[in-house]
């Protein structure tokens, strides 16, 4: 078979069968590694320096990718392990690194994660940190949190989970005090600072006291005030220390918070609740009702009016979404929330694909789909990549692809629009600033999808059908 024949062949059903039998090779993976998630989590705490113990390239990638996605400066350091460290272990690198980082960047906390090399050697972070404090290179009371996050296990979402658990474990130790009325909110690996701000706004309207763990909404969406702040915003360390005394912990993602929620339930001895991201009307309703249940605070009229406005937006736009066929890929929590929203609007998810999903995700997804006639045709794929998705798009076409920027080539091949949701988004500006959750976020989602379809009509219609009214 020559190149031209291969080109045709890869669009066929026969090829799809072969493609799905592929085992040893991943092609165009829609996932990143654990330490990226850990670094993303760490910057959500006040004055915290993300510190990666491993070889030096890893942290350069994380900084690049986070900086490109948010269009913000992103600071993180690495111990830059070399061949010597492979032979003798990485303790000296770590101790020297801690000393330098503490002296040069003056953080309030250092959050260590690891990349592959340190894990294969078997470096023990706990004993290294103790040693560093014994040697006096950092003060004994200086908070150093850590998590083991090799990239050959899990993905960026489990890395987030491990780091958050590591930080809470370290910060809440021996801080038990009287229980207060606060609710801990865990956004999860949520690439939208706009979402965190929206959650805070809704909770303020309800008069709920809260602590966001980890609040990276300011450092990843920092205002232009004429001066670069290396440590902007973040969850106050004092609030993190007190997290165990809150009334409850609510995670807005499930699969990026599995370890942390379990830890909160056991160690904080309070209710630990996992929700899916409140995307769409019903999911937002559920979030607010859970908040009401946990705090006893009523849902205020302002939010009721907002809900009405979002429902109005859905009504006005429903004809553009109803019956449209979608392919959705990304991280499991976002994918679940998007599909839930699409079903609510009468959209038909057809291909649902994630590289990082688990059996539990698959089951919950299928149960959601079975509850709606719009979900009849949907197939759920876990642990698959964008080359699999390409086969699906070419053999069973849909009207729109929803996912991150890596989807742009297959969307182009399939001749359909890509609605960018997720991480990374390198080829559009400012999307992360606006929420896609809550009632306001639902309006943004509906607007984005409906107008993308209308844009398609304008772009592809002939003169006779090019109209003012749509």
């Amino acid at each position: 078979m020559n190149c031209a024949e291969v080109k045709e062949w890869i669009d066929t059903k026969e090829y799809k069968e072969a493609n799905f039998k592929r085992e040893a090779l991943v092609v165009n993976p829609p996932k990143a590694c654990q330490p990226l998630g850990a670094v993303f989590c760490a910057v959500g705490f006040e004055g915290t320096l993300p510190f990666v113990h491993g070889s030096q390239g890893c942290v350069a990638y994380f900084r690049n990718n986070l900086s490109r996605h948010y269009r913000e400066p992103f600071s993180a350091v690495s111990t830059s392990m070399t061949e010597d460290a492979a032979v003798f272990g990485g303790m000296n690198n770590l101790i020297e690194g801690l000393q330098n980082a503490y002296a040069v960047y003056k953080p309030k906390m250092i959050a260590i994660s690891t990349s592959c090399m340190a894990e294969v050697i078997g470096d023990d972070l706990n004993s290294f940190v103790i040693k560093a404090k014994e040697l006096g290179v950092i003060p004994a009371d200086f908070p150093v949190s850590f998590a083991h996050t090799p990239s050959f296990v899990g993905s960026h979402i489990t890395g987030y989970d491990n780091m958050l658990k590591g930080i809470l474990l370290n910060m809440t130790r021996d801080k038990k005090a009287k229980r207060n009325k606060k609710i801990n909110i865990i956004p999860g690996f949520d690439p939208y600072p706009g979402n965190i701000r929206e959650i805070k706004r809704m909770l303020s309207l309800m008069g709920v006291e809260y602590t966001v763990l980890a609040d990276n909404s300011e450092i990843l969406d920092a205002p232009q005030m004429g001066k670069f702040e290396m440590y902007a915003g973040g969850t106050k360390l004092e609030d993190a220390q007190n997290a165990g005394n809150s009334a409850a912990t609510v995670a807005l993602q499930k699969f990026s918070t599995m370890q942390t929620i379990k830890f909160a339930q056991e160690s904080f001895e309070h209710e630990g609740l996992q929700l899916y991201p409140p995307m769409g009307i019903r999911a937002t309703d559920k979030f607010l009702m859970e908040m009401k249940r946990l705090t006893g605070k009523p849902i205020p009229t302002e939010l009721e009016i907002e809900r009405g406005r979002a429902v109005d937006a859905a009504t006005d736009a429903h004809q553009y979404l109803h019956g449209k066929r979608f392919a959705v890929f990304g991280d499991p929590d976002n994918v679940y929330a998007i599909v839930n929203f699409l079903l609510e609007m009468g959209g038909e998810p057809v291909h649902i694909l994630t590289a990082t999903g688990t059996k539990q995700f698959e089951d919950e997804m299928k149960s959601l789909l079975s509850g709606s006639a719009c979900g009849n045709e949907a197939q759920v794929y876990i642990g698959k990549d964008l080359w699999h998705l390409r086969s699906l798009l070419m053999t069973n076409p849909v009207d729109m692809l929803i996912g991150d920027s890596h989807g742009k080539w297959i969307a182009r091949d399939a001749g359909i629009p890509l609605l960018r949701i997720g991480f990374p988004i390198f080829d559009r500006v400012n999307l992360h600033r606006s929420p896609i959750i809550g009632y306001q976020g639902t309006i943004n989602l509906i607007t984005g999808i409906a107008n993308a379809f209308i844009e398609e009509i304008d772009r592809t219609s002939d003169d006779a059908h090019f109209e003012l009214l749509r």
Partner: protein
């Protein structure tokens, strides 16, 4: 599996400084990515090859599709192929998995060759990637080339050179002259260390074509695997980024007797110098005449296009922080536009790059160490109007209200060649004179008297 000897990689007798200062090129200091990234950057622009990253998800998942090297043909080079090693693969070994992956790629994508990158983990656990590649090649009948470049071997530049060695040892010289169709009377050159970022090559290749010089192999921007295999048939090598691939130029000189010249295509004076040097080398009257004609005509066109920008750029001050060839050639290009360079960071420059920079702006304007703080302080101290650097400093500059253009791999506008210089002028003017800077006044508008 034996790891490459990094000291040998840095020992480049071709560098002038090695004759006097010490034996080896200086090791780069901090702030850069790793040897794997450096190797991948150099080889990835070979467009019809498959680039398979053997390792856990990190190395591929965080990097694929991320480079700005453009292709006029195949887009296979963009695909992120990885074995996505898991814990089980580490415990039980993954040589069989690698073999399967290579076979799968060969069967489904029909690449001209497969480069297999061994990253930190398989290199630490001692997987025999070289043997797998050898066996795979025998099985599938196309070159399967091991690139042993684990990140822990060193910085990006180390990886560039490792990839250079791979080209010398596995690719260059393996092609037949019948495939290249080179006639002995033909004037042929190679370009080494040019990666077609934003399509820059496409501003340069037409110049040679007009003069009657054939660019035989591009190493490696917008190249095919085959054209690199017969690179040894060229008469002269033009080394564009010396810091990255001096070992390739040097190796081809020793092995095939092909001399090299270090040149740049940024800025009017540099282009003229490069073209004249090539023409002189080829010692052909027609070529020399045509070169002079083409350069003079293109200069006129460029100056005409630039005339609108000169009044805006004249006397503007820039701080420049980039690496390799751009660190010196960009200074000359900015001078062509009437601008002044008040400081230049050299953390990512070779010693010979630094020598050239010294000649252009003087020693006192050289920044040896570059941190965000030093960059900002220098910009304020020298009252610079713009920072010209790589993407990682872009948002730092913006936060401080400093106009910025990106001249590293994330740029989307070609700055090489005559048209490139016009683009550069336009982009600099666009950012310096953007009205957005006026929105971020120090005191808020409602606090003014």
């Amino acid at each position: 599996m034996k790891l490459p000897n990094t000291a040998e990689i840095l020992d480049q007798p071709a560098c002038e400084h090695n004759l006097s200062v010490d034996k080896a090129c200086e090791k780069p200091k901090g702030g850069e990515s790793c040897a794997f990234d450096g190797a991948y950057i150099v080889l990835n622009p070979i467009t019809d090859a498959a680039h398979l990253i053997h390792g856990p998800i990190a190395c591929c998942g965080n990097s694929y599709e991320g480079r700005g090297s453009l292709s006029s043909g195949s887009r296979l080079y963009r695909y992120g192929f990885t074995t996505d090693m898991t814990e089980m693969n580490i415990i039980y070994g993954s040589e069989a998995k690698l073999m399967q992956a290579v076979e799968y790629i060969a069967g489904r994508y029909k690449p001209a060759a497969i480069f297999v990158y061994s990253t930190c983990i398989p290199s630490l656990t001692g997987e025999d990637v070289e043997t797998v590649c050898r066996q795979a090649r025998a099985k599938i009948g196309i070159p399967v080339i091991p690139v042993i470049a684990p990140g822990f071997l060193g910085h990006k530049n180390m990886g560039n050179r490792l990839a250079g060695d791979v080209l010398l040892n596995h690719v260059i010289g393996t092609g037949e002259s019948s495939e290249s169709g080179v006639r002995s009377s033909e004037f042929t050159i190679n370009l080494i260390g040019e990666y077609n970022i934003a399509g820059e090559l496409w501003n340069v290749l037409p110049l040679f074509e007009k003069i009657g010089i054939r660019v035989l192999s591009k190493i490696t921007g917008d190249s095919t695997f085959q054209e690199i295999t017969y690179a040894h048939h060229a008469k002269l090598n033009l080394l564009i980024c010396g810091r990255a691939l001096v070992n390739v130029a040097r190796g081809m000189e020793t092995r095939y007797g092909i001399p090299f010249r270090e040149v740049s295509f940024y800025g009017i004076r540099n282009i003229r110098k490069a073209i004249v040097e090539v023409a002189r080398f080829l010692q052909d009257r027609d070529i020399m005449e045509r070169a002079d004609e083409v350069v003079s005509e293109e200069e006129m066109i460029a100056c005409y296009a630039l005339r609108d920008y000169f009044p805006y750029l004249r006397g503007k001050k820039a701080v420049v922080y980039t690496g390799g060839v751009k660190s010196w050639s960009m200074l000359s290009a900015l001078n062509d536009l009437g601008m002044e360079v008040t400081a230049c960071g050299v953390k990512k420059s070779s010693l010979s790059d630094i020598a050239k920079i010294k000649d252009l702006i003087g020693e006192e304007r050289i920044l040896k160490d570059v941190t965000p703080k030093i960059l900002l302080d220098t910009i304020y101290k020298t009252k610079a109007d713009i920072l010209i650097a790589g993407g990682r400093n872009q948002y730092l500059a913006y936060k401080e209200k400093i106009p910025f253009i990106d001249i590293n791999q994330e740029r989307h506008t070609p700055y090489a060649g005559y048209r490139g210089l016009v683009n550069l002028a336009k982009d600099i003017a666009k950012t310096i004179y953007s009205p957005v800077w006026g929105l971020a006044k120090k005191e808020l508008i409602w606090e003014r008297p």
